[in-house]
Symmetry: C2
Subunit: 272 residues, 2 copies
């Protein structure tokens, strides 16, 4: 490829998809770390949540989402949904010839590096936990690790309802984290893009010595490295963010702005 | 139509659809009240929940579900999903030439009859409450009625998680029902097929004088009357129940059995 073609290629946007709007926490990190990049985000609001659905179904939805992003001519894709990453990422990588980074690999790596005792807890949706992907990836990097998992199905609806603090949310966290507290872990993986918004409550349930690991920072760092290595990094201009969703669900502007950390200005509805 | 054709027609099954498995509370009532009827149930597990999605999207899903039931040659349809009934029932009735009964009309009627003071509360999903359908129907029947509404987005995930009692669930109920308690209502409509499973907790939040109205009994009574009037009632044999779902989601047998009130024996997965 000549220089001109390469340059053109590097100007293409980065694609990010999620079942809903939680993946905007990854977008927030992207705009901070890679301010020159255009970003195309797709949130599958019509079919969310993925977390309790079957692997087959999640793969089908994920393929649809990837095809949509490829039609937007993205140069790389971030799977910003843990349920999708755990069920579909290897399938998508086999199918599509574009760099695909997912929230799980990077997060597992960071957890393995951070832990001293090897006692690591992973919180996630049913799909993520039952897939065993976090467990396997951590064990690969840290063979002596003891990984304890807990699915927390009520965390996502609590965040969507905006109940980030308070007695009810603390009660739910206490319930889910009971057995993990006994296991004396030193690292807790927040294996769902919704969970960082519950950090205060989750942190309170543990002692101060526990490190919480979020997906966004390391995932974006990994993508940056890939783009650099392949000469695809955009180094000029101010990046634009385009948000697409498959349904205009209720309160989505409000919920989305909470994840993005700034007001969402415009959203386009996509129909397959 | 000659007698033979009529007879054949009355042998056809009753179709019931819901976004998920909550509609099995209606099926439970159907098998009690109309034990000779075959029933075909469809639960749209791939796309659930409907409660926070847009009206347009809910109509599209509801049309798909109705078409599936019509392909099973049903003689009548129950919309057992309040979100679907509130957003799509009039649309479906205009589109399809088959008796369609929905959970809202019957339940609103019962609430209007039961209330002495006219102070009626309606609990439901965001879609149901924002549609205003319960409010309008009750006002039609009881013009002086004062209808107070409350959407309770966490009730469905609590039921799906099986947290039917306990401190967390009571805390959520207390929060949602605070303003309704102050309004001194005498009737509370459980405007979602999941909510009857939280009856104990909801009842506890009110005084003993409050009547809780569930959808299933009156909805089934209404359907029975329509079938009788049209000569479509099946009066022989033991009815069979067939359950279809659009995804084999996690724990669905366990959750479904909770709604049906007996173990689910077999489920067929449908792909569009």
């Amino acid at each position: 490829m000549d220089n001109k073609a390469l340059l053109k290629h590097s100007k293409r946007p980065i694609g990010v998809f999620d079942s809903g709007l939680g993946g905007l926490t990854v977008v927030r990190e992207l705009t901070r770390t890679l301010p020159h990049e255009d970003i195309v985000y797709f949130g599958d609001l019509a079919r969310l949540p993925y977390g309790a659905k079957s692997k087959k179904q999640i793969i089908e939805f994920s393929v649809n989402n990837t095809l949509f992003l490829l039609r937007q001519k993205v140069k790389a894709i971030i799977i910003a949904c843990n349920s999708s990453a755990s069920s579909a990422s290897s399938y998508l990588r086999r199918l599509f010839p574009v760099p695909i980074v997912d929230v799980i690999s990077a997060t597992a790596e960071e957890a393995a590096e951070l832990s001293r005792t090897g006692r690591i807890a992973v919180l996630g949706t049913k799909a993520t936990i039952e897939s065993g992907v976090y467990q396997a990836k951590i064990k690969q990097l840290f063979p002596r690790a003891h990984v304890i998992t807990q699915s927390c199905p009520l965390f996502v609806p609590l965040v969507e309802e905006g109940w980030l603090l308070g007695k009810v949310t603390s009660g739910v966290a206490e319930h889910y984290l009971k057995s993990i507290k006994k296991a004396k872990v030193d690292v807790v993986v927040l294996g769902c893009t919704h969970y960082p918004l519950l950090k205060t409550v989750i942190k309170k349930a543990f002692s101060k010595k526990v490190a919480l690991v979020e997906s966004a920072p390391r995932t974006v760092a990994d993508l940056k490295k890939i783009l650099q290595d392949q000469g695809l990094l955009n180094v000029e201009g101010r990046g634009r963010l385009s948000i697409f969703v498959s349904d205009k669900s209720r309160n989505f502007i409000e919920i989305g702005s909470r994840f993005l950390g700034e007001p969402i200005r415009s959203v386009k509805i996509v129909k397959w």
